[in-house]
Amino acid sequence: MAMLWEFFSFELRFRAKSLSTYVYFLIWLAFSFFCVASESFGPVANTNGKILLNGPWANSFQDAYALLFGIIVIAAIFGTSILRDFQRDTYQIVFTKPISKFAYLGGRWAGSFVTTVFAFSGLMVGTFLGTLAPWADHARIAPNQAWWYLQPFLSIVVIQIFYIGSLFFAVAALSRKILVVYLQGVALFILYVIGITVFSATRSLEHFWSGVLDPIGVLMVDRLTRYWSVVERNSQLLPWNFSGYSPGVFLYNRLLWTAVGVAALISVWAMFPMSVEALTARSQGKRAAKARQQEAEESRPVRSRVVATLPRVRQIFGTATIFAQYWSLTRLRIRIITREIPFWGIAGLMVAFAVNNGYFAGRVGGVDVWPVTYLMLQAVEGSATLFFVIVAALYAAELIWRERDNRFDGIHDALPIGGTTDWLSKLTAIVFVELVLLTLAMLVGMLMQTVLGYYHYEVLQYLKELYVVTLPQVLGTAMLALFVQTMVSNKFIGHGIVIGVVVLQPILFNFGWENTLYLPGAVPPYIYSDMNGYGHFVPALFWATCYWSAIFALLGVVSIAFARRGAEVSLRARAALARRAARRLAPAGALLLLLAAGSGAWYYYNAHVLNEYLTADDRRRLQADYERDFKRYEHLPQPKVTAVDASINIYPEHRSFDGTGRYTLQNKGTQPISQIHLTDQHEAVSNVRFDRPFHLQSRAPRDAYAIYALEQPLAPGEVMTLTFSVSHATHGFRDGNELAQLAYNGTFFDAEFFPGVGYDPSVELDDPRRRREQHLGPLEEMAHRGDPVESRANLFTPNSDWITYHTVVSTSDDQIAIAPGYLQREWHQDGRHFFEYSMGSTHILDFYAYLSGRYEVRKEIYASPSGPINLEVYYDPAHGYDVDDMLACTRAGLDYYQAHYSPYQFRQFRIIEFPRYRTFAQSFSNTVPFSEAIGFITRLRKPTDVDLTYFVTAHELAHQWWGHQLVGGRVEGSNMMSETLAQYSAYMVIQHKYGKDYMHRVLRYFLDRYLRGRAGEVRHEPPLALVQREPYVWYEKGGQIMYTLADYVGEEQIDRALSDFLMQYRYANAANQVDAADSTDRSGAVQQPYPDTRQLVEALRAHTPPELQYLIDDGFNRIVLYDNKALSANSKRLPDGRYEVRLEVQARKVQADGNGVETPMPLADYIDIGVFKGLKDEEQPLYMRREKITQEHQTFTIVVNERPTRAGIDPYNKLIDRIPDDNMIDVGRE
């Protein structure tokens, strides 16, 4: 024991004297300090802005995250402690002393453990200091609680140090190789990062094993806390017991990995030889002996001692020789790389990950799609990018240091080769390696496309993406690494600097340093679209690549000048040599400098002079300014737009448009209006004129808000016209942030470019964190239902109720232009293609869009009871996959909605594809722009697949009723009347096609999204009927509530309720307006209230039987969560051959408030009890009955005809339950 203490204290003394110990401590201190003191830094920064920065969840997550990078630190401390004796050759002295193995290993290990724990304790100190920083966001800092620091530290950090450290200690002790010690940390780190990337690519909902097996904890923390509300995140620690939504995962994980650590320690103690030879030496020794023997035989001296004269050779030095030298050096370097295992390890790993990710390329958000080339590239290249960069940095270092590492520099440096030749050959070797990897990625991509049954190989796209876009960026990193390694005196310092430069970029970007021109190697973001190719991203991409390539090549020239050659390695000596080489290299340097300056200047001219350069922060400031300056006008009475007539010319090839418009405005209030306020979000409006005398009273900078005074006020009921010009011209390119609305093929912009009457609240910032940054108060809550002013305003277009719409739109000759309305006329004139659309006298929302593209068109006429309807799909010629599905769904939807709700109000329904710069579908009147990313490549491979296209089409079609017929007032809850009801309608259409069992899968998928959505809530979660801006409530929760209601009450009943409600309240405020300026009818124009959720809920309540009324209250007016669980299930065979199942279940119900604070609710609920045959996830019901549950624990005895395999409570997850998996269990046998 004394000996153990001796080794232990020696180790501690050694570490206490070592600078690195304190550096590690300071790194962690700085890391956690900035996590708290700066909101844009660290893992918690990008999460919910209500999470306490020093709260229990933040500390746990930060600890797990720090440990991810900490792997390398742990490896460094533990690995070197055991290796020190071998590195310094003191082992021969140590091992010849009478010491015990236990004391030797134990002391070293324990010393390292204590040192590492000390280093990581910087995390706690840093967080604590961060909470004291006066500039930190103190709204997110709670009074410090010691246990919030200690529990995560003990249960995450200390345990992890224990087993990761023990593992590394064992590997180091048994291998005794310095390289292994240096690499094992990095290797584990890379493997883990890639593993996580791969796992998240599968988008699995699995959360038990993925949590238990996670060795680092980042994934585990996510699995454990994915449904935690803000309150839970700010008050709960990871549970040391079987509570929580993933019971036992944390405990099992800690136990499993602690056991791994113990096993590592036992094996190192058992297997460590206290001798000179490493464990692996025996086999190596045998091999060496054999080699020696062979060598001895072969090198027996040749007898002849006569010296023959050497032949004479000619030396030729010219251009051809320079090329031959370059080629020979390059070949040699490539051969050395390709003959080493690491290269094949990297390539093999990359291929393995690419195969895996490629396999899931055809799966986006849980939906099977065709693995089109951009998706496949994203999959195979996405996971490989890390490899490309690592390889560039790694081999740049190896090539710079190889001659020195192999001590061949004495010979190499005295050879008659030019420095440029030498450098170019190094670069070429890296190019070769990268080309191999890129080509492998391409081949894997095409292979996986073949495997997935997609045979439309777009080789050119692969080549462009991999060789034209990616390769130069990777080579930039390589040249940077070559430069850094040339300048620094140590390979590992070089690696550190290169990693630093690469890692720093996203951090700087987060801090608002977004300029491509100063982020080394950055290119502006780009998106490939099948419709538009690389489109308008090409110039910015090209010039940024050009700029950075020139700069990196310039660094290359400097590297050549400063290359280590000979014994002069000090930077000063090399600087002297560089000055001598300068004259030779100056022309190349000057040329590159010119290229860098030229392309940089051109980029600057485009991004900063032709276009205004705004960072994300600048844009938020503009939003905040708008709110600060003009929110006071929000409730100022303004006339309503009642008719729109516009003439628009789209120039797709210039990404521009211009045109003129005319609004008809009517004063639907009771007071005269003397000021007209116009919002112009995009500085697109000019030539504003009214049909009566007026003058401009004020105009905000950037034309954000203009106030016009009318000489003669607009009397109540009176109508006037406003005419204007509208245009947007694209000049050159921007530094990212290109307008997605404008494309060479696939233009799609809406009325946001047109003048908006009055203040536009949609401009306001809604993230509380961003609002605090801009010193804005909390976002204004929506008005309560029944608010006298707001309930009279249209939810979607507060300054209009309904409009009539007419437009003429032109585009380039080869494109089709589309806007809402029936086509009146189509003609070609002056090399342009014109279309005239009109809605006639039909009322639509003041909500319209213009689209233009080179489309293939599929048309059909659908005979419906209300008359023929034209169904049209406009799609990219390559995307014909889902057109039939879309049309089928439209027919099915029209059938269902017309039969159950009300007649369709239009004679046409059109779906138009647009580029995937934006990924949504949106329902305009009879016109649905549909992103190419979500609807046109869906593919049904298995009958269980979620048919997303069908679903989205049904949803958007349903909006023609819920949104375009029924509109709520601008009060809380109204949003659900369009979104929830559209979601519900789509569920019904899907259920009619696929059946009820299929809905189980759909509901599971949406339930996860609801629970994650509420966990990420930044303000407070409202009940469904009071929803404001919470998509997870109005889509996922709303859909589930309505579906379950229909399931419980009956689809017919619910649909009748909806139909009654719709027929009573649709087209509110449509009858009390005039639609055109020439109309003289001014009577009855006083605004009436729009419907709100009170009426909807009452309509539903009226059709719900008394015993199920609780569903209405729970579903719409409360936030209710169930905790249903099957506890046990056993079956026995009855004498008559049937089976009796004894099922014990648990049911609990809680009500949550907006912050997630839960209170138990009494239980008197009807819940499904079911028994099934078949395997898990393929269950078929044998018995299904809704039981009234009043007890927390209840046991059912059920007799079924066939052998049961599964049984449970609420097996189809109709109720909202945070642990949906435990509702069913396997049936055991008695």
Partner: protein, 293 residues
């Protein structure tokens, strides 16, 4: 070929003086450099081999300024550093062929002939396809010699070439070197005095960055003729006594007893017998004289 070194000085950043105003003329012959560890031999050779910059001085090689026209020197240079390693997993043939390309031997047939001849000469023919990294120390040294002789260099600089060679290989190498060293300049640094004696027509002794002696071995030996005396000493006490009395050149152990060699113009005593001077005597005397100054 004639190499003229003038006033070469070099002080390393850590303050160690490697070369101190050193001047030498080396003609078309084998030139031996003798000196103790740290004398500046390697510094001098690295400087001539274009791998190091002097603080002051000049080196001229038949009109080529070695310090500025490095590439011109490298084209005619064959250099074997004192210590070198090899790339892993490459065979001797491949590596020599590669180095021959780098040395401008552009004609494939010539290159092949040269590489094969050198492999034969350095007795590496049988292992030519083996990875260099598996070579033993001696084999590696022979490979080093082979690469230095590629492309008929006119200036050969070999730093401790015989270190690590067994006696047979050492002889072979010396033979080889002398057979090609007729019309070219060969600079050979060594601490094995016999190498110089056997091979070199000119030599220099260097210590502390200065030339202590320059001339032909024969001249140096002649100068000591009849002035070296030898005696067997039985005990350490006796040796101690003699040390204070005479200028001892060297001591050797012969069967456990000390044989001492003493420099003296006349017979130091009857116990001593006159012996013919060796180059080693020249070397030690030069060094010890320098130490006294």
């Amino acid at each position: 070929m004639a190499l003229t070194i003038r006033g070469l000085s070099k002080t390393y950043p850590n303050g160690v003086v490697a070369l101190k105003n050193l001047s030498l003329s080396i003609g078309n012959n084998m030139f031996g450099l003798l000196g103790p560890n740290g004398a500046g031999k390697s510094s001098l050779m690295r400087t001539i081999a274009t791998l190091q910059e002097p603080d002051a001085g000049s080196i001229d090689l038949d009109g080529i300024n070695v310090l500025t026209q490095k590439d011109a020197v490298r084209r005619i240079l064959g250099y074997l550093p004192q210590e070198f390693g090899v790339y892993p997993k490459l065979s001797a043939t491949d590596m020599l062929n590669h180095l021959a390309i780098l040395k401008g031997v552009a004609v494939v047939a010539e290159r092949k002939e040269m590489v094969e001849a050198l492999l034969q000469q350095t007795n590496l023919w049988q292992v030519r396809k083996k990875a260099l990294s598996t070579f033993s120390g001696g084999m590696k040294q022979r490979f080093g010699i082979a690469q230095a002789l590629l492309a008929n260099p006119r200036l050969i600089i070999v730093d401790e070439p015989t270190a690590g060679l067994d006696p047979a290989e050492r002889n072979r190498f010396l033979n080889l070197l002398s057979s090609i060293g007729r019309d070219i300049t060969v600079i050979l640094s060594t601490h094995i005095v016999d190498d110089v004696r056997e091979l070199c027509s000119r030599m220099a002794v260097i210590a502390a960055g200065k030339v202590l002696l320059e001339g032909s071995p024969a001249e140096a030996l002649t100068a000591l003729d009849g002035q070296i005396w030898s005696r067997i000493v039985a005990t350490d006490d006796e040796l101690r006594g003699l040390e204070s009395q005479f200028q001892i050149v060297s001591t050797h152990l012969v069967s456990g007893q000390h044989e001492i060699r003493v420099f003296s113009a006349s017979s130091p005593g009857t116990a001593f017998r006159a012996v013919p001077p060796g180059l080693e005597d020249v070397y030690f005397l030069t060094l010890s004289r320098n130490n006294k100054n």
